[in-house]
Amino acid sequence: MAARFRPDPTFYPSPTMAMQAPPEQLAYVVLLDPTGKQRPDAMAVVDLDPASKSFAQVVGQLDMPNIGDELHHFGWNACSACLCPYAPHPHVERRYLVVPGINSSRIYILDTQPDPKRPHIVRTIEPDEVFRKTGYASPHTTHCGPEGIYVSALGAPDGGGPGGIFMLDHETFDIRGRWEIDRGPQELHYDFWWHLGHDTLISSEWGTPSMVRNGLDAEALLAGKYGHALHIWDLRRRKHLERLELGAEQQMVLELRPAHNPTRPWGFVGVVVSLKDLSASIWLWFLENGKWQIKKVIEIPAEPADPALLPPLLKGFGAVPPLVTDINLSLDDKTLYVSCWGTGEFLQYDVSDPHNPKKTGSVHLGGIVRKAAHPSRPDLELGGGPQMVEISRDGRRVYFTNSLYAPWDAQFYPAGFDGWMVKLDIPEGGKGMTLDPNFFLQFEPGLRGHQIRLQGGDASSDSYCYP
């Protein structure tokens, strides 16, 4: 990999400095074929420059060479963590996208140079190699970090547990093996991120591959078998420290959003559904007097609905669960965005005081019952709901797509839906939001969008070693 003479200009020592970054021009969005059979998944390049004629359109698309990967999350090979003082290597380029297939366990490495609109595959790590070298399957979230590229995996090749984290070399993309040295009682896995200033890694729990691959298992759910805890790890010694229990009724503890400021030992995590009342919730974990704690800070109630309008899975409940499936935190750690994929609502909270979030905005789009339309197409009922959300580094623009995970899409939206992506404008100060009427992107019919990565970085790509 070629080294630069000066640090990559997209690396910033602190989140505050990163907020001064120029506005993003392009987004990379994974597209998946929900049937997993008809065509390969793809990486789309979306034009985000409002001055461009092709604004809010797909300007490049790379089809993968295989069918049925189910591309899901992905990330950059390098980020601001390369500036960390203890092992600095800031002359690598933010250039490659690490793109795992959650169903196939295959990992593609995409080069976004020389033409960022024409990414191409430079390496494919086949499933066998992932299985053999890590003992894990269903690779999911990636983060560039101080030691290389960290990739989470849902479980073992046989579909069971444990799930965990493995590492890729950030120069060669060779698999370096499992990350954990001592995993303690940890078994289920989903997301992970860290507090670099505290040498602490946090991980969350969804379910093993066999618990998620064939759709939500209602029996397992009602028995409280999906994840309901957080895990605290010693990032330096790769050792499990503590399990933070949320309660067995809190099912599926997903996206982790630690404060970007590395000295702030707190963060937010979303819980998809409570067995008690189908509500969803946001929890705050924090370090107080040397002890990690967790508490619920936001509860979003289910909405009563006519059972006739509900999918079979929900008919018996007569209500739509909000299903908080993704959240994201602005780089100044002040604004939290929450996707309610079930009710089709997108929420904004002021979290300047993380212990007391205040709701500052709400937008409806899609939803199981509501099917809310976009202002640019008021005639068009929308399926799916707000899902993978990404925030620009300056916090002034937010983008989201509407697909969760093909087998689960089919359960909650059995009639199917088309994939779309929208943009919200955020005023200075981060309170309030409006849908951009000029940004309603409908993907190629038959393809749905999932995670979004912004060129140059965004609010969930980079981590920082300096406050």
């Binding site: 003082p85 120069e171 505290h198």
Partner: protein, 240 residues
């Protein structure tokens, strides 16, 4: 190599190591920013310098001992070739040592600095100074004292001698024919002094005045310069 040249080379290499963000000052600044106190910056400097000195001392002691028991060429050739090869390797493969951890004790910092200096071949870079220096005074005393002095510029040497203390002591050691390992220790001390001064100065100035935005503009890829320096010192060692 005259004493003055040796002193200057050791101090200069100390400054070169000290200015490298990956070798200490940036870690000190980060610890200061984390605790929001300048005291944290200052507290980190000595442990980091100690680790650096230990790494250098190990290399110079080994080379010093070998120099005293083996024929000259038996030391110069392996060291020179090793340096050149290591530098070339670093030019091609810019791997960096791995470390994770911001919550560090003084002992951690010393160990970290030792690892960084060792992985970067910081001690090896000083090898030609030690090998050349040992020859210098001996040769001077034997025959070419005056000629050598002219070439080296005796003003500098006089200045160092006038500065007294350590300089005079070390030169004394050399002229008395003290063992090369002892000279290696003296060299380590002087080198570390230059390293500590520059590292400390940069750390405080960046913490107090300049701010970390400078990293984005002025953090030149020292890996290449560093690797080139290793190759050059390797060649110098071979041609001493």
């Amino acid at each position: 190599m005259s004493d003055a040249q040796a002193w200057l080379a050791l101090l200069g290499l100390g400054a070169f190591h000290g200015i490298n963000p990956g070798m200490g000052w940036l870690f000190a600044v980060a610890l200061g920013l984390q605790e929001q106190r300048r005291a944290a910056v200052l507290r980190a400097l000595l442990p980091i310098a100690l680790g650096h000195a230990l790494s250098i001392a190990v290399v110079l002691l080994v080379i010093g001992v070998l120099k005293d028991v083996l024929p000259d060429a038996w030391v110069r050739w392996p060291v020179g070739l090793g340096l050149t090869g290591f530098g070339l390797y670093k030019l091609v493969r810019c791997r960096h040592p791995r470390w994770v951890g911001m919550r560090v004790s003084s002992l951690d910092l010393t160990w970290w600095s030792f690892l960084m200096a060792t992985a970067h071949g910081a001690g090896l870079m000083l090898a030609p100074v030690l090998l050349g220096w040992r020859d210098g005074p001996a040769v001077e005393q034997a025959s070419t004292h005056h000629e050598h002095m002219h070439h080296a510029g005796h003003h500098a040497q006089h200045a160092v001698e006038a500065a007294g203390g350590h300089a005079g002591h070390a030169q004394h050691l050399a002229e008395l024919g003290a063992s090369t390992p002892l000279l290696g220790l003296a060299a380590t001390g002087l080198h570390t002094l230059g390293y500590l001064l520059v590292m400390g100065l940069v750390a405080v100035v960046v913490y107090e005045k300049v701010g970390l935005a400078i990293l984005r503009k002025a953090w030149f890829n020292l890996d290449v310069v560093w690797a080139a320096a290793l190759v050059i010192t390797g060649i110098v060692t071979l041609t001493l």
